[in-house]
Every structure is written in structure tokens, then in C-alpha cells.
């Protein structure tokens, strides 16, 4: 969101194109293509091991694809100069140094991307952690760590946001807060890609849905479409992924 975008029509768009990631012989992501548009919350669903987290890591340039590519704002993530201004991500809320304070955790990020330290106080206030800003992150509950991770994603005021399971560990107040936050971020015209296993919550939060199984795309559609064809998002999910569950009890 700084300066004129290089590709105006691709501003805020996440494009996953024929993306494949192999680890040894296992295909974590297998010829996966989908597009995430701005202005919506897009739910990213799939059974455990379906490749959701791997796809997010590939979008963020943390892992190198075996083939295919993932683009944000029309560019590969690794080529972004100050990426936190364009993309915010929460992958793992536990990725914190236990003896570093919440404030310092956000401040090193701010400094690495030339973000005004004032933003650190702002996002801490926004996620409700201002009172424990100077406390060591090691003492935080999972819910507090999720809030800190969300603060980190919002730090650079990015147009594109990725959240991997942000609801885990939050109390009912927190779950409601996340839902409202996701919807308001999308309403501001941002792109929100959100993974979760909580179908009822996803039905309330997302407008668009991407479902993957065994690394492949199962469906890319709207929540409305799915709930019309099946009676609920949960039924739709269970029917569509029935053949792709890798780790499940015998039925």
C-alpha cells in the first residue's frame, strides 16, 4: 500500500498457480491453483495434512516450491522490499521468544520494515494486550499469543492478510472478536485468507471458500453456493473431503 502498485489490477490478489511442493516422495501441495480476491474473507479449509500450512509458507516465500508459483500483488513474496507493509501473516502463535517482551517482539518487526514505533503501541491496544506489553511472551496463554500474532500481522497496515488457525485457544469473547476483526478487515477492502477447522465459525466469518485435500484443490466457491447445495458448510465440507482424510478413525 505504498506508492503506485506495479500491477493495479492485481493489487490485493493472492494467486496460487499450479503450485507443487514435494518433500521427498510426498506431495504436500500438488498442482494447486486458486485466487484470493480483496474485499472478502476467504476461508481455507481442508483435513489435517491437506497442505494448507505448506501453501501459506509457499505464499510467504518461506519454502521454495518444487514447481509453479505463488504471487501476492502480482509479485513473488521474496521480491517485496518491505513486505510487512503489503502482507501480514500469522502462521504459528507459539513462534515467540519466551524471554522477549510482547512490545519488543513487535518492535524488532517494526524496525526491520521501517514502521513507526507508534504503530506498535497502536496494534497492542487494538488486540487488547497494551496492559501486558512489557511482560515476557513466554508467560502468555495461547489466546494471548494469538492476539500478539494478530498484532504482528496488522503492524504494517497491510492490504493482504493470512491467518493460519487464529481462533485456537481463544475464549468465546476472543472468538467473537476475531470474527468481527476479520469481517471489518475485509470490509475495508483488504484480502483475508483464513484457515480454520471450526466450520460453524467459518460459516459466520467467510464469504468465499477454498477447500483442499491431499494437496489438491477440491472446490473454490462462495459460502452461499455451498450452503445452498448442502444444508450447512459443515455438511458440505464433510461430503467434499470424505475421500481426502488422511488421519481419521475408521468409519
Amino acid at each position: 500500500m505504498c506508492g503506485a502498485p506495479a500491477f493495479p489490477d492485481r493489487e490485493g490478489v493472492i494467486e496460487v498457480k499450479q503450485l507443487t511442493k514435494r518433500y521427498g516422495r510426498a506431495r504436500a501441495v500438488d498442482d494447486l491453483s486458486f485466487t484470493v480476491q480483496p474485499g472478502h474473507v476467504t476461508g481455507f479449509l481442508g483435513p489435517n495434512g491437506a497442505g494448507k500450512s505448506t501453501t501459506m509458507r509457499l505464499i510467504l516465500g518461506l519454502d521454495t516450491p518444487t514447481s509453479g508459483e505463488a504471487l501476492v500483488n502480482g509479485r513473488r513474496y521474496a521480491t517485496l522490499g518491505r513486505p510487512l507493509h503489503e502482507v501480514g501473516a500469522l502462521l504459528d502463535a507459539n513462534a515467540l521468544h519466551p524471554t522477549r517482551s510482547a512490545y519488543n517482539h513487535l518492535l524488532w518487526m517494526a524496525r526491520s520494515n521501517g514502521i513507526d514505533p507508534v504503530r506498535v503501541a497502536e496494534v497492542l491496544e487494538q488486540v487488547g494486550l497494551a496492559g501486558v506489553a512489557r511482560k515476557k511472551a513466554g508467560g502468555f496463554s495461547l489466546g494471548m499469543k494469538q492476539r500478539l500474532g494478530i498484532a504482528a500481522a496488522l503492524l504494517g497496515d497491510p492490504g493482504v492478510l493470512l491467518f493460519d488457525e487464529p481462533v485456537n485457544g481463544l475464549d468465546p469473547d476472543g472468538v467473537r472478536w476475531i470474527r468481527d476483526l476479520m469481517r471489518s478487515l475485509a470490509a475495508e477492502g483488504r484480502t483475508v485468507l483464513l484457515s480454520s477447522h471450526l466450520m460453524s465459525e467459518m460459516a459466520l466469518t467467510a464469504d468465499r471458500i477454498v477447500i483442499v485435500g491431499r494437496g489438491r484443490l477440491i472446490v473454490e466457491t462462495s459460502v452461499k453456493d455451498l450452503t445452498e447445495r448442502y444444508d450447512s458448510l459443515e455438511s458440505a465440507y464433510l461430503a467434499l473431503t470424505a475421500g481426502s482424510v488422511e488421519y481419521g478413525a475408521a468409519r
Binding site: R57, L60, L62, V87, A95, L96, H97, R100, R111, S112
Partner: protein, 250 residues
């Protein structure tokens, strides 16, 4: 980016503990100096080792740990992912880490080694305790060589930390370079014991000062070559780190 890495390093308690452990050498050096002072009073004169040299391994290990943890703590806690998300240019990130580690270990090493030297001379006074036989100018190459060895070990620790992603493996390798390999070298058949021994990391410091490696072992490398070999340890570890870090999935 340097400011960001500097904040990362100073905002965790392990860095403070490691520098504190290195600073303990000042206290140990003072105790040693008092002890040899009383011996000198009793015997007239003695030949005691300088405490900043005798306790140098403690400074080296403590501050090498700063280099190791600068990166293995990131892998251990998972913060390597937010780090690479914030700075996807990996070479730049590692270069910033190396710069910060070099500064954050060289300055404490300089302070600890020179303060220990000064305190030990103050305590010795005009008694002949051996380590105060030469002038400050005579001691300077050894003092600076000692500081350089700490910087090199911290960078070697950083490099091994990147390659192994494990605190235990990286610290183990540093201990190997500092204590195990130099202990094995003398048992090689002649003349390899001297040739290999001269390249061992702890033996480079006396060679930088143009001194004998030990009472039994002469130096082999001229001072400039010893400096180059010492720097070479850091260079090799960092080149390996850059090659691995550039390509590896995080």
C-alpha cells in the same frame, strides 16, 4: 535491519547472562591476582600466567554462545519464520545478524580482557609476579589477538548455528574446535603434530603475539598468517552458513 537484529539480541535474557558470565572473568582475574600476589610476597618473585589469558576460554565460550543463540534460538522458538517473513532477503538478514553478533561480542570481550589486564596489574603493583614482566606495549598483541579470537568464535558459533539449527550441536562443535581438536593434535606423528597444532584455534592467539604455543610447542605461523588463519575460521563458517541459509526451507 541492523537496529532490528540488535533489538532481538539485547531483548532476550540469554544474551545478558552470557555477557555476565564473560564478565565474571574480571572477578576471577582479581582473585587470581590477589592469590599470586600473596605467593610473591612469600617467595620474592614468581612466574604466574596472566589471568586474561588463563581465563580466556571462559570468555570465548560465553560469547560464542551469544553467536550460537542469535540464530538457534530463532529455530528453537520458531521465530525464524516471522524473521524471514519480515525480511525475505536472506543474505541481508544473515549479514545483519553477523554484524550485530560481531559488535555485541567484540565490545564485551575488549572490555573484559583489558579490564582484567588492568586490574591484575594494579593488584600486582611492583611485585614481580611474571605476567607483569613486560610493558603494556609488549602485552598488546596478545590482548588484541585474544579479543579477535572471541569475535571469531562468536561468528563461528553463528555459522554453525545456521548450519545445524541446534544449540547443542553448535555449542558442541565450538567446544570441539576450542578444546577437543587442540587436545588431539599433539598426538599426531611428527611433524604433523606441530603443523596441525599451529592451525588449531586456541593456538593461534599466542602465535599472533609471536610467542610459543606452549612450553613444549614452538609457534610455526608468523603473526600475520596466524591472524589470517583465525579470520579464516569465521569466514569458512559464515560462507557455509550463507550457502545453506539461502536455499533451505524455513
Amino acid at each position: 535491519m541492523i537496529a532490528s537484529e540488535w533489538l532481538k539480541l539485547r531483548s532476550v535474557s540469554s544474551t545478558r547472562y552470557a555477557i555476565g558470565a564473560a564478565a565474571l572473568v574480571i572477578v576471577l582475574g582479581a582473585v587470581w591476582s590477589f592469590y599470586v600476589g600473596t605467593l610473591a610476597d612469600a617467595r620474592g618473585s614468581i612466574r604466574a600466567a596472566a589471568p586474561e589469558e588463563g581465563f580466556l576460554p571462559l570468555v570465548q565460550i560465553s560469547l560464542a554462545l551469544v553467536g550460537v543463540l542469535a540464530v538457534t534460538a530463532e529455530y528453537g522458538t520458531g521465530t525464524i519464520r516471522p524473521s524471514l517473513t519480515a525480511v525475505p532477503r536472506r543474505r541481508a538478514l544473515l549479514a545483519a545478524k553477523a554484524t550485530v553478533v560481531a559488535a555485541a561480542t567484540t565490545l564485551p570481550a575488549l572490555a573484559v580482557i583489558f579490564i582484567t589486564h588492568a586490574v591484575s596489574h594494579l593488584i600486582a603493583g611492583d611485585r614481580a609476579v611474571g605476567y607483569n614482566a613486560g610493558s603494556f606495549g609488549d602485552d598488546l598483541p596478545l590482548l588484541l589477538g585474544s579479543v579477535l579470537s572471541v569475535t571469531v568464535l562468536a561468528l563461528v558459533g553463528l555459522g554453525l548455528g545456521v548450519v545445524t539449527r541446534s544449540t547443542a550441536a553448535a555449542v558442541g562443535s565450538v567446544v570441539g574446535l576450542l578444546f577437543v581438536l587442540p587436545g588431539i593434535a599433539p598426538y599426531l606423528p611428527q611433524p604433523w603434530n606441530v603443523r596441525v597444532g599451529a592451525w588449531m584455534l586456541p593456538n593461534l592467539v599466542p602465535q599472533i603475539a609471536g610467542e610459543r604455543i606452549s612450553t613444549r610447542l614452538d609457534g610455526l605461523l608468523p603473526p600475520a598468517a596466524a591472524v589470517a588463519v583465525l579470520a579464516g575460521y569465521a569466514l569458512v563458517a559464515l560462507v557455509a552458513a550463507f550457502l545453506v541459509f539461502e536455499r533451505r526451507d524455513a
